[in-house]
Subunit: 262 residues, 2 copies
């Protein structure tokens, strides 16, 4: 079993050129097989504004009608993804930028319209880990934009946290997988106002306790649900940490919050 | 030696959804190993206009300053490329969308500033046919956007005709390559005003004669120079035809203009 590190970076890194540069330099130092999944960042909203495409968010999720799908396809799949790939190449990382449509790596289906019509948003159906595995064997480093596709030929906007989790789980059949969620804090905090109150080890019981007490809330909940779900489905380790600490977290286990099942 | 068909489609196909759909349906029917290279089309200019990025063309070539580079990265590398990939997946073609930066497939260098500063425009240095070959072995169909990269981590806007020719030449070391340039006419014409006056077979001598007489001029000249250059460097056959005739041209040799060295 190869060691494989799957890392997700969010908009806060992508929106800050210095932070992104520092992260990519760190990422280049990780020696194991690795996969990067990036979020969108604020550029999509800025480009949409300039193009006259209104942005509608419901519970922190973007409503993706056809004009907005075109914007996220341009920004996530083009601008952000290809800039990361070119920068990684300059760091001697042989990156290959992908959406889920490329090499049929992540198939999804358009979310059914319920109370809210999210538009062209994808729920993941299947990861083709075989195609990803052969890229790793070729010493390529897959870099995923948060876009998938369906069998009708539509591109679909997809949550990057969920995409990272789904890829990590599927790759765990043939690899020892560490999944890392990088975000703007040093880890999951026991005191939200205190950046140094990092919970170094989080079990499902402790998660429930903190959630009930309101210490863990909002956007952290779907992130942690994704993370525990990955652990329950074969991923060996999940770490939540600041993008600056990714090397320390992955190579020495000495940063961020490590999730364990017991 | 595997048969490999390298096809370039231009903006006229990309700008017309029905023409693109029809072309992709034809492309899906080609049984050999195949590679698609697409141009940009008018969408880049439209998006640039809306974003307030001025478009400057010199001799039909786009001046690519940093804001324009971002636009073409979004439009060529994101919107156009990923829409083609998703549509091909729905046609059961396992496409993988690439720029030259992805998997270090096409390395370039930024064009030196002469009388004109073209900006972030790339002249091709090297094609990594090894990476492309292993994708073909995996039954993937590479779809290239006209973007390359340099060793400093810049993306570079690159002429799609040249990129098609460079890829075809490098792949000719290990494949029997047919290179097809699809455009808006049925082939190279002996009477520019008569769409049916297709020259079925064009040699370098006949090309020089028609060029001297002004029958072949403007944008056809760099296209044909690229095409003859490919033939002189190992490509077995070059065909110039209408996008609607690509299957006929490739599988039956019964359409368009076929270039030969003698």
């Amino acid at each position: 079993m190869h060691n494989l590190t799957v890392i997700k970076i969010g908009g806060n890194v992508i929106d800050n050129p210095d932070a992104l540069k520092q992260f990519l330099t760190s990422f280049a130092q990780i020696r194991d097989h690795k996969i990067l999944i990036h979020g969108g960042g604020k550029v999509a909203t800025q480009v949409a504004d300039k193009l006259g495409v209104p942005t509608t968010m419901v519970d922190g999720r973007r409503i993706t009608d056809q004009p907005m799908l075109d914007v996220v396809t341009m920004v996530y799949g083009g601008l952000v993804n290809k800039q990361i790939v070119a920068k990684l190449q300059a760091l001697e990382v042989n990156a290959i930028g992908l959406t889920g449509a490329d090499a049929s790596t992540v198939l999804a289906k358009k979310r059914a319209v319920g109370e809210i019509d999210y538009g062209f948003v994808g729920d993941i159906v299947e990861v083709d880990s075989g195609q990803i595995q052969y890229m790793l064997r070729q010493k390529l480093v897959p870099v995923f934009a948060p876009l998938t596709y369906d069998e009708e030929g539509n591109l679909l906007n997809t949550n990057a946290d969920t995409m990272a989790s789904a890829i990590a789980v599927d790759m765990a059949h043939k690899n020892t997988v560490t999944l890392v969620y990088c975000f703007e804090k040093k880890g999951v905090l026991s005191e939200p106002a205190n950046d140094d109150s990092v919970i170094t080890s989080l079990t499902p019981d402790l998660y429930e306790t903190h959630k009930a007490a309101g210490v863990i809330n909002k956007g952290m909940i779907p992130k942690l649900d994704n993370a525990f779900n990955a652990l329950r489905n074969g991923v060996t380790k999940v770490i939540i940490c600041h993008a600056d600490q990714v090397v320390q977290a992955v190579t020495q286990g000495g940063a961020g919050t490590t999730l364990t099942l017991s």
